[in-house]
Symmetry: C2
Subunit: 563 residues, 2 copies
């Protein structure tokens, strides 16, 4: 294959050779008026929320969700396919926008080195996007920690709200991987330094404010959601909210620019809205509602994605983001790689370069389950096989035959090596599927069901579990939440991304398992109840040799080591 | 007086009525080439450091430092005079740039509500500048805390550098007033959560990285300075540096945009570089060297300021910033108010509206000392009396006579109420003084003197102390620092700003006092040794009713409550 012969360039090499259009041209391409956007440098812009008012009556473009099988260390390339598909749609004459999440600095400095897609399907300028971008995450960090400071000050200055310092659930954040901050004690040093208490830090992307920013419809809605945040409980064990503290205005002020979607472009000058980035465990793992809806007003097709596999990201995209944000998805792309499917079929990571039809065949069960999930939401779909150099013709033929037998549309995606050109087959098949089968999208559960019923529905229909067990602690919380009137909210499942079950070692399509819900957490501001199964990481650690060790700036001020 | 009759508008009302020029016009006014600046919105820009290379051989404009008497709760308005003087110089046909510090979010949310000058002498857009601006402080916060995470990870992953967790001096930061973070314990929760140790948070502006950014000459110098940061000591009690950890490249990468000066404008469209903002106690309290030098290349006059009174800000501007940054100041404006002088003369704050010539007369001693200090640095100066509505003609006449008797040039400044127009008298007198008397600027001490001698020189010549006492702990540190080769660095005094002595209650011009140095702290990256006298606040707290409680956003997304 040609891609084997080419010298393989790194993402940052490709990025630094890119010829970008001034962002003014991208904005004009979208017919944005001059007062509707503000430049942040020559290649980034923030778009005013007023555009939504101007285009209120315009019909929405079609929202396409890119999801994947359960991720493995072999990689899927969901973001790369998302960017590449957007480029491909433009290449064949359609008006498409890519709408994805902003990367977090923590993983960038830690292990990943960057998160803007890859190869010839990247959003640009990747150096800026991977570092501080337009400051959205820093604004969220500041708002989150301002709230913490205001809580501790409230207690220190007399504690009018009668907050129980042992029952403060609001944590501080940094947008870094910093395990030493997971559990801390603050307020030490005597009466002038505040009230001592246990506290902890999450990574910024795990903050409820991140989830709120991504679910808010406008600035007013943002303020309302912020005011509903439960920061902990008082001595009567009743919830204390941001409204009780009276600081929703200040938090909104800190976020008034961050709520505006960021406009950038891909390597092929396809417009991209890169905005928001909530964790896909403790939160819903999707880019902002505002960006997705805005993209739908500005283009005929919006290609967007959701974190992890379809059991987590897509489920939440449908049951939380689409429902709360009033977004009507039209089709789904399910990304898989032959390497990852072989891992799901039992092959060890070290051997994935070898052809192995048997492992591939066994691994298809994982894909099959996610297909059924997408079908249960009433959505047409295409399978995208994201190509790797090691894929053999026999393996590719096997997958194509497997899909043909089941009447599933499948396309090879070569967007990493070829950009939009490598996604044309996928784009054409997607449009064909959308033409043949209309979306009958509906969420999986009704908000009036109990929290237990909602969780059971997800576990059975999406994970394929035989049932759900609630720990005694969780059962007690279910009771409390009903008393507080929180039981009519959607559920945000926090589960391992590696398996359909809550056991990360069970690859493929496990059966007969039970999901154990060990704890619930209220995200009342965001508008959902988090159900925790197993351990949930809200503050990652750094590896032995962090990516930061390879980072630098060259003599021209350009980034080194962001991949 | 006319200003009494006018309805007094708040700073934010004046700001929101301002007609600003697009930043492109301001950049063009400075003859910046199109590729030398990047817009951040329509009214802010970052300037490329390449401009310095292009203008290398151009003669420098004249740098004018605005300083003040010791601050009191009555207020001096140093920033307002700085902005107003810049406007006035432009009004009378000169090319002037204002170069001041960026405000910290902590005090803005806490007590002050904003820090961009006031009245009709403000830098704009004040809402943006007071909130996240172009993200410089957030970048510093991220770099600072990334270093902390990398230190803790280094220890957790095997501690190759043999760092003693009890002797880590590097602290984390937030750009907030948050007393509960002053003293914390991190790394709790067992072996997977890192190594438990005592830690603390400073406000971002008190970070050594802030001082470094403000003293760096270029990106390469920034990296060198970062690499020299001492983060603590190993078990052999030898210093451990950022270079030992190998992360200076990553920190530089995080700061590569923050090091570029920010271009904005005043209410009267005078160009302003607002860049950097180190604390004036633990650091040197001046805007960045890069911005000041760039301003000198772009204009004939640079009006800049330094934190607190002349005993702290000006002393450090001369002995640290000018020396390390190779800046040659040409003249000084000493700001005083009649109200503050009366407080120095013994009047209580509640009575300052009353005429009191006796108190004023006594208070002049404070001004007199600062005049002598400026003279000892060899610089011509003008006294600026920043007008308040309560000033009486008799009081004004007294000051004018006092100055006349001593042959000091004095001007009334009405820039708060009248903008540049109200500063023309000051500007004219300043130019006259600069014409009559050339600067014979020299730092007060030689770098080859010992740390003790440097501190004694400052205490005697600038504070008027009779001597300096070193605690046993400080004496031990003096010895150690000599061993480490740190004794040839300038000294950064951390002293109360309210008094010339180290006792904040001693107003006026105290005499016969001794300064006690209780501790030294090495800022080897920044390139100075901090000498602590009395308590030094590196993390402020919030008041009982923080300014945040009054902050909000109106229906058009505009700020409420930033003053």
């Amino acid at each position: 294959m040609s891609i084997q012969a080419k010298k393989v360039k790194s993402d940052i090499e490709i990025a630094q050779e890119a010829v970008l259009k001034p962002i003014k041209e991208i904005a004009e391409q979208l017919n944005l008026q001059e007062n509707e956007w503000e430049p942040y440098g020559h290649y980034k812009a923030k778009i005013s929320l007023d555009v939504m008012n101007r285009l209120q009556t315009k019909a929405d473009g079609k929202v396409i969700l890119v999801t994947s099988i359960n991720p493995t260390p072999a990689g899927e390339g969901k973001s790369t396919v998302t960017v590449g598909l957007g480029q491909a749609l433009n290449k064949i004459g359609h008006k498409a926008i890519v709408a994805i999440r902003e990367p977090s600095l923590g993983p960038t400095m830690g292990i990943k080195g960057g998160a803007c897609g890859g190869g010839y399907s990247q959003v640009m300028p990747m150096e800026d996007i991977n570092l501080h971008f337009t400051g959205d995450f820093h604004a969220i960090t500041a708002a989150n920690n301002a709230l913490s400071a205001l809580i501790d000050n409230h207690i220190h200055q007399g504690n009018e709200c009668n907050i129980d310092p042992r029952r403060i659930t609001w944590k501080r954040v940094v947008d870094l991987n910093d395990r030493a901050l997971r559990q801390v004690v603050v307020g030490l040093g005597g009466p002038l330094q505040g009230v001592p208490r246990e506290d902890g830090f999450n990574i910024t992307v795990a903050s409820e404010i991140m989830a709120i920013l991504c679910l808010a419809k406008d600035l007013q809605d943002l303020k309302e959601k912020l005011s509903r945040i439960v920061i902990g409980y008082n001595y009567q064990k009743q919830p204390v909210t941001v409204k009780d503290l009276g600081v929703q205005g200040a938090l909104t002020l800190l976020l008034k620019e961050a709520i505006k979607p960021n406009l950038v472009q891909t390597l092929e000058n396809t417009p991209a809205l890169v905005h928001g980035g909530p964790f896909a465990n403790i939160a819903h793992g999707c880019n902002s509602v505002i960006a997705t809806k805005l993209a739908a007003k500005l283009a005929d097709y919006v290609v967007t994605e959701a974190g992890f596999g379809a059991d987590l990201g897509a489920e939440k995209f449908f049951n939380i983001k689409s429902r709360l944000g009033n977004i009507d998805p039209q089709a789904v792309v399910i990304v898989a790689t032959i390497r990852a499917l072989k891992m799901h079929g039992g092959m060890a990571k070290e051997n994935l370069a070898e052809e192995n039809i048997e492992a591939l065949k066994n691994g298809m069960a994982n894909l099959q389950k996610h297909i059924e999930t997408i079908q249960s939401f009433g959505l047409p779909f295409v399978i995208a096989i994201n190509r790797f150099i090691t894929d053999t013709d026999k393996e590719i033929n096997f997958i194509e035959k497997w899909c043909q037998d089941r009447k599933y549309e499948v396309a090879l995606s070569d967007v990493w090596a070829k950009g939009g050109e490598g996604g044309i087959d996928l784009a054409v098949k997607l449009l064909k599927v959308m033409d043949q089968e209309k979306s009958r999208f509906r969420p999986l559960y009704d908000l009036n069901q109990s929290i237990e019923e909602k969780i059971e529905t997800i576990a059975q229909k999406v994970y394929g579990a035989k049932g759900v067990e609630f720990t005694p602690a969780a059962k007690k919380q279910l009771q409390e939440y009903k008393t507080f009137g929180w039981d009519k909210l959607p559920v945000c499942m926090a589960k391992t991304q590696y398996s359909l079950s809550d056991d990360p070692t069970k690859l493929g399509r496990p059966e007969g398992f039970t999901i154990t819900v060990r704890e619930l957490r209220p995200s009342i501001g965001a508008g959902f109840i988090v159900a925790l199964t197993g351990d949930v990481m809200t503050m990652p650690g750094l590896p032995k040799k962090p990516a930061a060790l390879n980072m630098d700036v060259d003599e021209n001020g350009r980034a080194i080591g962001l991949f």
